[in-house]
């Protein structure tokens, strides 16, 4: 039986679990191998994940399962994502959807964000959490590689109201060499599809000399979907199989970011400590609408929110925001 959660479309059987090792076939249906099992959770700022234009300032319960449908050379979470999920059984947490939502409330969180591994490999569990979260008035967001099938992408768009899609590269050679998938076509298709139904931000880890020459084409593609899609250009942190490689030059990449930044309303350059490219500027007049600190991959942080009501503090022009500014301890009183 073919799995149609992602474009790998693996053949699944009772004992064959697909590339991600997270699904199997049972009685003519595709079922999760590890429903309601989580690798970790923690409290985090929404900017850390990163979302810069969704619920600014919100406290989130960040959660993850295990397994992935990609094999990125630079995976930052290889120790949980690249191991056989069955081998993590003793340290995984068994948390039912309602209990996960209760946990978010107890921690005073405004949202639950799936941000460790790929949500496509745990969609049924996430759909159940979303149902419970909706009843409790808790928003759901995720990071995704965007490689779902049209059916599962539609489901993803119903589960999550804010999504950050990783557009890692365009060229097929890059996709094969660095991600272990044949092409970026499904990802581009899904960015456009998700942008029609939920808030979308996009992240691109840039590797000097490998995918930096595609930055203009990526910016043009995103602008064709929506000019106000926030684009996070990441300086790649060489991890996993790239650990011995050079850190990309911030000076060289920042020049490339400067060259493309007028193609979109909101372009950021970060994932390194002290970045100066993390503030939101008004697309109309250039005034700072939201200022942030860049703590690198340790997590960015809201400094000051000036864009009350989604308007520029200087010219009153619109600032694209999904959700309102949320005070960090706003949910404590009702937790």
């Amino acid at each position: 039986m073919e799995c149609d959660y992602c474009e790998r479309r693996c053949r699944l059987g009772p004992d064959s679990f697909g590339y991600c090792k997270m699904y199997r076939q049972e009685g003519g249906r595709i079922v999760e191998r590890f429903p309601d099992r989580w690798c970790a959770y923690g409290v985090s700022r929404v900017e850390t994940i990163p979302f810069y234009h969704a619920w600014p300032g919100a406290r989130c319960l960040v959660v993850g399962t295990s397994g992935c449908n990609f094999n990125c050379r630079y995976c930052a979470n290889a120790e949980v994502v690249k191991v056989d999920p069955a081998g993590l059984a003793d340290i995984m947490l068994d948390i039912a959807p309602e209990a996960m939502v209760a946990k978010a409330r107890k921690h005073g969180c405004h949202a639950i964000v799936f941000a460790v591994n790929e949500p496509t490999v745990s969609l049924p569990t996430l759909a159940r959490v979303a149902e419970a979260a909706k009843a409790a008035g808790i928003a759901m967001g995720c990071l995704t590689n965007g490689y779902g099938t049209p059916r599962s992408t539609a489901l993803l768009g119903r589960i999550f109201s804010f999504v950050n899609v990783s557009l890692k590269g365009l060229a097929s050679e890059f996709c094969v060499d660095y991600l272990s998938v044949p092409e970026a076509g499904p990802i581009l298709r899904n960015i456009a599809a998700l942008a029609r139904v939920c808030h979308v931000e996009v992240t691109t880890p840039v590797i000097e000399g490998v995918n930096d020459q595609e930055m203009e084409a990526m910016a043009d593609f995103l602008a064709g979907v929506r000019r106000d899609i926030p684009w996070h250009v990441f300086r790649l942190l060489p991890e996993y199989r790239m650990q011995q490689e050079h850190y990309p030059s911030i000076e060289a990449l920042s020049a490339k970011v400067e060259a493309v930044k007028n193609r979109l309303d909101y372009v950021y350059f970060h994932n390194f400590i002290g970045s100066r490219w993390v503030n939101t500027h008004c697309p109309s007049c250039g005034a700072v609408a939201i200022s942030r600190h860049s703590l690198g991959c340790g997590g960015d942080k809201l400094d000051t929110f000036f864009a009350a009501g989604g308007r520029c503090p200087s010219c009153n022009g619109p600032i694209a925001l999904y959700g309102e500014h949320v005070a960090w301890n706003a949910k404590e009183a009702t937790a």
Binding site: W38, C39, A40, Y41, G42, V43, R45, G57, R59, G64, A76, N77, E79, V80, L88, D90, I91, L93, D94, I95, A99, K103, K106, H107, G108, V116, R235, L237, E239, Q243, Y247, S249, I250, E251, F272, I273, G274, S275, R276, H293, L295, G296, C297, G298, G299, K301, L302, D303, T304, F305, A327, W328, N329, E332
Partner: protein
């Protein structure tokens, strides 16, 4: 203003430590510090060259700043053992390397170097699941042994009392009584503190599989050149005595090393009080540096994220919203430096004039951070 210099490899940015905002301010030490950071890129917490980085960088500071006191931390063996299944031989080599690097520093700097092992590691054998409570359990990635418990129900209390892998459940009042605190000191203590059994750790707080965790040790080893010390709190006054006597002194912490692996002749000192023992971490650093138990402010069970709002000062200092007072660097009037491959603690816990530490979060190597607290001693 206190200037912090961030080095993300071939790129540096100065920020105001308190506000976190980029700064154009100039410090007389800024050029020297920037050059040192650029000369010593950090190889990574678990890299075989990580402890050599501490020695090389500290020696560079010694050559250019001529401190009378140096606070050093060697942690590669700790990180590698915590997350990697090391063969005993490999672990032995890593520990030997930490001692060798501290010895190299002592030799080349000429400073009397006092070594302190921060406690033994034991295999992480027993995952403890507190997810089924009606109340809230708060554990953190870097504190395996203690969890804070809040809003417990009667059912929770019963479950916890019978839990086979919890050594004890301690009410807030008992912690206050043990450490001599009044009601006003309990604000950052949990309702109860859960203490894991030896080899136990709380599930769900670490993304990576834990292989070894702090014991944590009842006593820790201190090299005999310090003189007598019966408690971790005695280390600071003994160091200050040595400094007052005109010695140039370094304190080198060897992380995750206890009496079982300590090499030079040593004495032992109590690593806490009664049932409470420090894990290698911020509270232990502060106990060493201030000579006081900081448990009311810094304990494994505080809901640290409550303080992390958008107006929290010191955004580059993790959950610290103020820099602790009464540190050893503050008490010593001469020049001082702190260098270590333990993020954050060097600038938060030591009070030295100039601090330098890796900027790694959860082992992700993002570069270095140096903080210049005092730049007025150079002109003497």
């Amino acid at each position: 203003m206190t200037l912090a210099l961030l080095d993300a490899r071939q790129w540096q940015q100065a920020v105001d430590l308190r506000s976190g905002r980029p700064s154009e301010a100039v410090s007389p030490l800024g050029g020297m510090v920037g050059d040192i950071l650029a000369r010593h890129p950090f190889p990574g917490d678990r890299d075989g060259g990580s402890n050599a980085w501490v020695t090389d960088t500290a020696l560079d500071f010694v050559a250019r700043y001529d401190p009378g006191f140096a606070f050093l931390a060697y942690a590669q063996q700790y990180y590698s053992s915590r997350y990697g299944a090391l063969a005993p031989e490999t672990r032995r080599k890593y520990v030997e390397n930490a001692f060798a690097e501290a010895a190299r520093f002592a030799r080349e700097s000429g400073m009397t170097t006092v070594l302190v092992g921060t406690g033994d590691l034991v295999p992480a054998t027993t995952p403890i699941d507190l997810e089924d409570l009606d109340g809230l359990a708060v554990a953190s990635n870097w504190c395996a042994h203690y969890a804070g418990l809040y809003d417990l129900s009667d059912r929770d209390r019963e479950t916890l009392a019978r839990h086979p892998h919890l050594e004890r459940i301690v009410p807030r009042q008992e912690i206050l009584d043990l450490f001599g605190g009044g009601p006003e000191d309990g604000g950052r203590l949990p309702d109860y503190m859960a203490v894991a059994c030896r080899g136990g750790f709380f599930k769900g707080s670490s993304l990576r599989r834990l292989v070894m965790v702090p014991e944590p040790s009842a006593v820790i080893p201190v090299s005999q050149n310090l003189g007598p010390a019966t408690s971790i709190l005695d280390i600071r006054p003994r160091l200050l005595e040595l400094l007052e006597a005109g010695n140039r002194v370094a304190l080198a912490l060897l992380e995750g090393v206890g009496c079982a692996e300590f090499q030079p002749p040593y004495t032992t000192c109590a690593n806490g009080k009664d049932w409470f023992r420090y894990e290698p971490g911020d509270a232990q650093y502060l106990a060493l540096s201030t000579g006081r138990h900081p448990i009311f402010e810094h304990n494994g069970g505080y809901r640290y994220y409550l303080d992390d709002g958008e107006h929290k000062p010191y955004p580059f200092s993790g959950y610290f919203k103020e820099l602790p007072a009464g540190t050893i660097g503050e008490a010593y009037p001469g020049r001082s430096i702190a260098v270590g491959n333990r993020s954050m603690f060097m600038h938060v816990c030591t009070g030295c004039d100039v601090t330098c530490e890796c900027f790694a979060r959860n082992l992700y190597n993002q570069g270095l951070m140096s903080v210049i607290f005092r730049d007025d001693k150079m002109v003497r």
